[in-house]
């Protein structure tokens, strides 16, 4: 098997796990609660592996991307509700990613933030126009691997490994006040949302169809999900653990993505800082492309248009116009001056509300023998699928009250 075949999973996961929300959020989780939230990352990672594998399998066997399923399985009315909700969630997320890329370029060059937002959007759009899908995933997936700097930096600062390992055991820290407990619960829900962002399933399943997957690709789909999402999770946990070690004791709850880069600068100085910023740039840039494409895929699939980046842009004109308009809309949101970090909070909230509606049709089709034949969900897939569906539904119900009670995890 060609290792480059894994890049779809790596891009999806690196863009999904260590996007702008995770860069700040994992850092805050570590500085506020030490290592106690590591298990939530691991728990959610298994969930996205289950649904990622399922969406890839459905794409390979039934040749159906997630949004096609939604319209057929949920009916037109609920399908439209899901479409609108996911469009809003993905557009807010895309705007936050564009703002994130601009911020990181600002840290790298000290050029004005707004100018960087315009430049980065132009570059992202040009790369989407020029590069075929395979090269988009390879470029952003592989360059995002600079993020490994964070895992190396964690080892270099010698964290208390027994405490890090203790974080793998599901628990809540002892002695929390009611306010802190609510905050902890909000972080749990938000991590589930951020790890299992719906756009990852839309992008990954559509990517499988772009690459013309068939049943022969199922082993690669499984490996790609395991390696890609496992790597993304490892990077997010590295950011959390470094934050617990370096930031927690000195009152820092990272408010800016740039602060997270200090985790690499502490042991490795300027080289660590620049490598970390480059990793962040490509991971967040990849996430911007993922969210924009996920939205364009959703619209095109819902209305039955020609779609895909395996075609020339003019061969799928409405799809092409959709992603161009969505990128410009994301840029427009940033140019209003809104703080990308505030957008992140709303993106996480909106996404968790969409999650059950995203994964229910997928579960139903993956369990339908008439479509999936011998590749239908087995006992393990079915059990895990319905278990995680129950989890995301409970998280969706709890998300809004917790968001309001904790001011978006601020206290």
């Amino acid at each position: 098997m060609n290792p480059l075949e894994l890049t779809l999973g790596i891009m999806t996961a690196v863009g999904g796990f260590v996007d702008i929300s995770e860069l700040v959020f994992a850092g805050k989780a570590g500085s506020t609660f030490g290592y106690a939230l590591i298990w939530v990352f691991v728990f959610s990672t298994v969930g996205i592996m289950v649904f990622g594998e399922m969406s890839g399998r459905v794409a390979a066997v039934a040749k159906q991307p997630v949004f096609n399923l939604m319209r057929h399985r949920l009916g037109l009315k609920l399908g439209i509700v899901t479409l609108i909700a996911s469009l809003i969630a993905n557009l807010i997320t895309c705007a936050a990613e564009v703002g994130g890329v601009a911020l990181i370029l600002n840290y790298l060059t000290d050029a004005p933030y707004m100018l960087m937002a315009i430049v980065s959007t132009a570059v992202l759009m040009a790369s989407m126009w020029v590069l075929p899908f395979k090269w988009i995933e390879r470029a952003y997936g592989l360059l995002g691997l600079f993020m490994v700097t964070f895992a190396v930096a964690l080892v270099a600062i010698h964290p208390p490994w027994h405490q890090v390992a203790g974080g793998l055991v599901p628990h809540a820290p002892a002695g929390l006040s009611t306010r802190e407990m609510l905050n902890f619960a909000y972080f749990m829900v938000a991590i589930v949302s951020a790890v299992m962002f719906p756009y990852e399933a839309y992008f990954y399943s559509s990517g499988g169809i772009e690459e013309d997957w068939g049943p022969k690709d199922l082993p690669m789909n499984r490996i790609s999900c395991t390696v890609g999402f496992g790597l993304g999770s490892l990077l997010a946990i590295s950011i959390l653990a470094s934050s617990a070690q370096l930031f927690g004791p000195i009152n820092v709850d990272p408010q800016l993505p740039g602060t997270t880069a200090l985790e690499a600068a502490t042991p490795y100085g300027k080289i660590g800082l620049v490598l970390a910023l480059l990793g962040m740039l490509f991971a967040v840039g990849g996430a911007a492309i993922e969210t924009c494409m996920a939205n364009a895929y959703s619209i095109a699939q819902f209305f039955g248009w020609e779609w895909g980046r395996h075609r020339k842009p003019w061969e799928a004109p409405r799809f092409t116009i959709a992603w161009i308009v969505l990128f410009l809309a994301a840029l427009g949101i940033i140019l209003t001056g809104v703080d990308p970090m505030k957008l992140v909070e709303f993106a996480i909230l909106f996404s968790i509300l969409v999650l059950p509606l995203t994964y229910l049709p997928l579960l139903l089709l993956a369990g339908d023998k008439s479509y999936m034949r011998e590749h239908v969900n087995g006992v393990v897939g079915k059990t895990l699928g319905w278990f995680y569906f129950a989890v995301v539904t409970a998280a969706a119900l709890a998300a809004l009250p917790l968001f309001l009670l904790t001011s978006g995890g601020q206290g």
Partner: protein
């Protein structure tokens, strides 16, 4: 009826005013001062690039200013402390910034336990 009241509680909590409502901004400013101190300390050790230091200092100061302006109790001790942070020069001494952060942390802990 009871369900509607339960739904209203978080909304009411989110619209509250006073020191409890200001807690999120106090926590934000406490962290911003500590982040600023860390940036200035590592800059002094030659661990950071010039572009990064300039961009971070400017952003941190702007955010500290925004947090101070968002308070519902502008005449409180913590408001004065937060305005003092926002008024610090970009290359302020790390110890000075850390002292602001520590004072806000004390206030934050007192308000949380109240």
């Amino acid at each position: 009826m009871r369900a509607s009241l339960l739904l209203l509680l978080p909304l009411l909590a989110a619209c509250a005013k006073g020191p409890q409502a200001d807690l999120q901004y106090i926590a934000e400013a406490r962290s911003l001062a500590a982040e600023w101190a860390l940036v200035n300390q590592q800059a002094a050790q030659g661990k950071l690039t010039d572009a990064y230091v300039t961009a971070m200092r400017t952003s941190l100061q702007q955010q500290a200013n925004t947090a101070a302006k968002a308070l519902t109790q502008p005449d409180s001790d913590y408001a004065r402390e937060m305005r003092a942070i926002a008024a610090e020069p970009l290359d302020a001494a790390p110890d000075e910034l850390r002292a602001h952060s520590d004072r806000l942390k004390t206030i934050e802990d007192q308000l949380e336990s109240a």
